[in-house]
Structure formats: structure tokens, C-alpha cells
């Protein structure tokens, strides 16, 4: 026997992480400050990795000259259209696969077969099919977004408690009403989590598609800067992409807070 004597030790707490804006901002600012210090002290050769200050100056010049907007505007348009198309079709297919047995096996077989194919490898094929214009880039983004959205939505539908669907049936709700009022809201957390993934995939594929065949766009701009060994401009383009990623994550966070307030 072992004798114990003393106050009960607190063992609860934890496992409930909260978002802290200043911790996130401080980390990013700290990393940039370290990077700047490394460049100033000569630890980091600025020929290969320009200093943050130089990148900021380059960004300012690109903004004032209008060159940034000339490249950013088509990228944003392609991103918005491609992501929206891929998301709408992906949610539709995900719901169908999640709800109907007739579509589940064939749908998942197609998704499983096509999802692992690197979509960047398909860009030349899309250029042949849809031309060098906007079509091929939008399709690249849409296809890249489509498959993860199908998987996220179908998973979300699978996780909707069947007792809620039975409740809807017991009250005589139509299939459409059950999908609209029970299945879709129940799958929304998974769909919104999928948005975080698909938004990043969309940016990656957009840049790749623009590098292969575009006159304007952030991808084309970065490639052109790289060809000219203009590392300041190249990094400015990359910073724009990074900021784009942050803005998209922030918007999705707002959506989650608004639409999932019930959690």
C-alpha cells in the first residue's frame, strides 16, 4: 500500500487552443525582423534572398507604377472564377456522392482515380483543350479545387447525424428541404474546412498555370522576374501571394465565425 497525503493536484485545463492575433502578428514580424537582421549583417547574401526592406521598396514601386495591379487583377479574377466554379460543382458532387447510393461508388471511384493526378501536369492538356487564354487557367484552378471540395463535402455529409435526417423525414420534410435545412448546414463545418485547403491549392495552381502560359498575372510576373534575375521583384511577387493567402484565410475565418456561431 502507498500512503498519499496532500491537496488534490489540478489536472484539468488545456486542450482548448484560442486564436491570439498578436501572437500571430508578432511571430510574422519577428521572422521578418530576423531576416532583415541577417541581410544587414551579411549572414544572408542579398543576391539570392533580398532584404525585406528592399522587397518593400520594390513593392512600393510596383504599386505606384501600376504594374502590380496589371498583374494582380487578372490573377484575382482567375482565382475567383476558378475557385467558385470548382467549389460549386464540388459541393454539388459531394452532396450527391454523400446522399445517393447510385452515385456514391461511381463518384468516389472517379474522384479517387483523378484526385492524385498533379493538376499542374494537366495544364498543357488544358491549353490544348481550352486555348492559351483564360479558359485553361480557370479550368486548372477549378479542377484543382473540385476534388478536395467533393471529398470534404461528402465527408461532411457522412458526419451529419442520421438521427437528424430521420427527424426531418418523420416531420414529412421533402428531400430538398432535408438537404437544404439539415444536410447542408450539418456538412458546413467540413465544407468550410475544405475551403481553407482549396483556397491554397487554387493559388498554387493559378501561379503554375500563369507561369506556363500568361501575359499578365502574378505567376507570369514572378517567372519573368526570375528569368531576369530580378530577385527583388521576384520576392515582391511572392510576398503578394503570401498576403493573398493571409487575406483568403482571414475571409474564411470570418465566414466560419459568422456561419458557425452555433458551435
Amino acid at each position: 500500500m502507498r500512503r498519499i497525503d496532500g491537496p488534490v493536484r489540478f489536472r484539468g485545463g488545456g486542450f482548448s487552443p484560442r486564436e491570439r492575433f498578436w501572437a500571430a502578428a508578432g511571430t510574422l514580424i519577428g521572422l521578418v525582423a530576423l531576416w532583415q537582421l541577417g541581410c544587414t549583417e551579411g549572414v544572408i547574401p542579398t543576391l539570392f534572398l533580398p532584404a525585406p526592406v528592399n522587397i518593400a521598396v520594390e513593392l512600393w514601386h510596383l504599386t505606384v507604377s501600376g504594374e502590380l495591379w496589371i498583374n494582380l487583377k487578372p490573377s484575382l479574377e482567375r482565382l475567383a472564377i476558378g475557385w467558385s466554379v470548382g467549389t460549386v460543382f464540388g459541393i454539388g458532387m459531394g452532396l450527391a456522392v454523400g446522399l445517393w447510393s447510385a452515385l456514391r461508388s461511381p463518384g468516389m471511384a472517379v474522384v479517387s482515380a483523378l484526385f492524385p493526378i498533379p493538376k499542374i501536369a494537366l495544364v498543357p492538356l488544358f491549353i490544348i483543350w481550352f486555348g492559351i487564354g483564360e479558359g485553361s487557367k480557370i479550368v486548372t484552378v477549378a479542377i484543382g479545387v473540385f476534388f478536395p471540395t467533393v471529398i470534404a463535402t461528402a465527408g461532411g455529409v457522412d458526419n451529419v447525424p442520421r438521427s437528424l435526417i430521420r427527424m426531418g423525414q418523420s416531420f414529412g420534410l421533402s428531400t430538398g428541404a432535408i438537404v437544404r435545412k439539415i444536410v447542408l448546414p450539418g456538412a458546413l463545418p467540413a465544407i468550410l474546412s475544405g475551403f481553407r485547403v482549396t483556397a491554397s491549392i487554387a493559388i498554387v495552381l493559378l501561379v503554375a498555370a500563369e507561369m506556363i502560359g500568361a501575359e499578365h498575372g502574378i505567376g507570369a510576373f514572378v517567372l519573368s522576374a526570375g528569368n531576369l534575375y530580378d530577385t527583388d521583384a521576384l520576392m515582391a511577387g511572392i510576398v503578394v501571394l503570401s498576403v493573398l493567402g493571409l487575406v483568403v484565410a482571414w475571409v474564411i475565418g470570418l465566414l466560419e465565425r459568422g456561419l458557425l456561431a452555433w458551435r
Binding site: 438521427s163 437528424l164 430521420r166 427527424m167 426531418g168 423525414q169 418523420s170 416531420f171 414529412g172 420534410l173 421533402s174 428541404a177 435545412k181 439539415i182 448546414p185 450539418g186 458546413l188 458557425l260 452555433w262 458551435r263
Partner: protein, 260 residues
């Protein structure tokens, strides 16, 4: 409220693949009557309720509803679920209006929601999320949602079993008042014999799986005059327990020894 439906079950059998769950069930729930289904675990009480409500199709036999329903009845056979089955993304009022908003004008819907929230004492929680409510309050929302469609027959699947004893007693008395006021036919599944004798006018005892009607006990006293401490009700409760006990023990052992 509707005057209630007559629910007639003839030769109802049900099997899950090779496992026979219900066999040859013959029952009649008269209009406005409270029929309570009791029996050991796994005897098919909830399955039978599912068949009555049209959520499950019987392997054999038939379920018929007879009678007239009121014009404002939106769902003649209405369920109340053990786990409440509330939509967590809808407020209390949103859950109650789930069916109404499809079938009524906005004004009529709001009026009916307000009426049932008042009836169930939920008015001040109309905008609360289900997660903010206690178990008892959540089941009140389930009841309010059911009453909002003006049912002709309430199908209640162990509605109090997920609640603590005190809440169960309080809510049981509210059920009595609501059932008396609404005068709907009610089929109430429970494993709690005290609930069965407090509510039941016809208590149907099912045998262990495959469930058959083993005994039908009738209590003619009005619900309002009953109390949990009434000697005659306690005697019925004891008699019911004697009927079920051996089956309940056998069913429990069956569950313990079931392959995992």
C-alpha cells in the same frame, strides 16, 4: 388540436436480415388514448414505434391509421426523440418553426411558434442555441416542435431516458398536462415502469426478442388524478416488473454474451 387517430397494427413482423425482432404484433391505439410500450432491452420497442411512424417498413403485416385530422394538422404522426434530435445550428424558435416555415405564411408561422413556446415555457429562450440549454429544456424544445405541427398522434421514443431523475419527474408531469390538453393519440415507449403507469391507459408488455405482445394492461383512471405514490399504480408497476423481470435478465445476459 386534433382529436386523435386510431392506430391499428395487424400481424406486424420485422427482421434485420436473419434476426427476427418483432413477431405478429396486433395492437390498436384508440383515438386520444395513451398507449405505452414496455419490455426488456432489445425487444423491439423502438423498432415498433419506427414502423408505426412510417420510418421503418415492416417485414410483414400492416399499420393503418383511421380517423380525421384537423385542418391545421401539418404532420399527423409526429415523433418526439430520445436524443431530442434538435438542429444545433438553429435557435430554439428556429427548431420549432422547422416544419411550419414551409407550410404556413410568415405571420402564421410566427404566431404558432409564439403559442407553443408559451405553452412549453420556452418564450424567453426563443433565441438561444440548443447547446446553451439543459437536457430538460432541450426535450421541451423537442415537444414544442412536435406540438407546433398540431399532431393527431404523438410517437414518443423514450423521451425522458436521457434526463436526470428530477428533470424526468418534472417533465413527466408536464407531459401529462400537455397530453390531456391536446387529447392526441399517444404511443409512448419507455423502459421505466413508473412512467408507464403514470401515463399509460393501455400498457403493452413485449416479450424479449423477437418481441411479441405478452400482456396488455389497462388503467382506466384519468391521467390528471394519478400520482406516483398511488398504491394501485404501484401494484400495477410491481406486476409489470414481475412480467418483465425474467426476460430483462435474460436479455441483459444475451447482450453481455453477444459477440463483439
Amino acid at each position: 388540436m386534433s382529436d386523435g387517430l386510431r392506430l391499428v397494427l395487424r400481424g406486424v413482423c420485422h427482421a434485420y436480415r436473419d434476426l427476427s425482432v418483432l413477431q405478429d404484433i396486433e395492437l390498436v391505439a384508440e383515438p386520444g388514448e395513451v398507449l405505452v410500450l414496455v419490455g426488456p432491452s432489445g425487444c423491439g420497442k423502438s423498432t415498433l414505434l419506427g414502423i408505426m411512424g412510417g420510418l421503418l417498413s415492416p417485414s410483414a403485416g400492416s399499420v393503418r391509421v383511421e380517423g380525421a385530422v384537423a385542418e391545421d394538422c401539418l404532420n399527423p404522426l409526429t415523433y418526439v426523440f430520445q436524443d431530442f434530435a434538435l438542429l444545433p445550428w438553429r435557435s430554439v424558435a428556429g427548431n420549432v418553426s422547422l416544419v411550419l416555415e414551409q407550410r404556413l405564411s410568415r405571420a402564421d408561422c410566427a404566431a404558432r411558434v409564439a403559442e407553443v413556446l408559451t405553452l412549453t415555457g420556452l418564450t424567453e429562450f426563443a433565441r438561444a442555441w440548443p447547446r446553451q440549454l439543459s437536457g430538460g429544456m432541450r426535450q421541451r424544445v423537442g415537444i414544442a416542435r412536435a406540438l407546433a405541427v398540431r399532431p393527431a398522434c404523438l410517437l414518443m421514443d423514450e423521451p425522458l431516458s436521457a434526463l436526470d431523475a428530477q428533470t424526468r419527474d418534472l417533465l413527466l408531469e408536464e407531459f401529462v398536462a400537455l397530453i390531456e390538453r391536446a387529447r392526441t393519440t399517444t404511443v409512448y415507449v419507455t423502459h421505466n415502469l413508473a412512467e408507464a403507469v403514470r401515463l399509460g391507459q393501455q400498457i403493452v408488455v413485449l416479450s424479449r426478442r423477437p418481441g411479441r405482445v405478452r400482456e396488455v394492461v389497462r388503467i382506466d383512471r384519468p391521467l390528471a388524478g394519478r400520482s406516483a405514490t398511488d398504491r394501485d399504480l404501484l401494484q400495477v408497476e410491481t406486476a409489470l416488473w414481475r412480467m418483465i423481470r425474467d426476460d430483462a435478465v435474460a436479455a441483459e445476459r444475451e447482450i453481455e454474451h453477444a459477440p463483439h
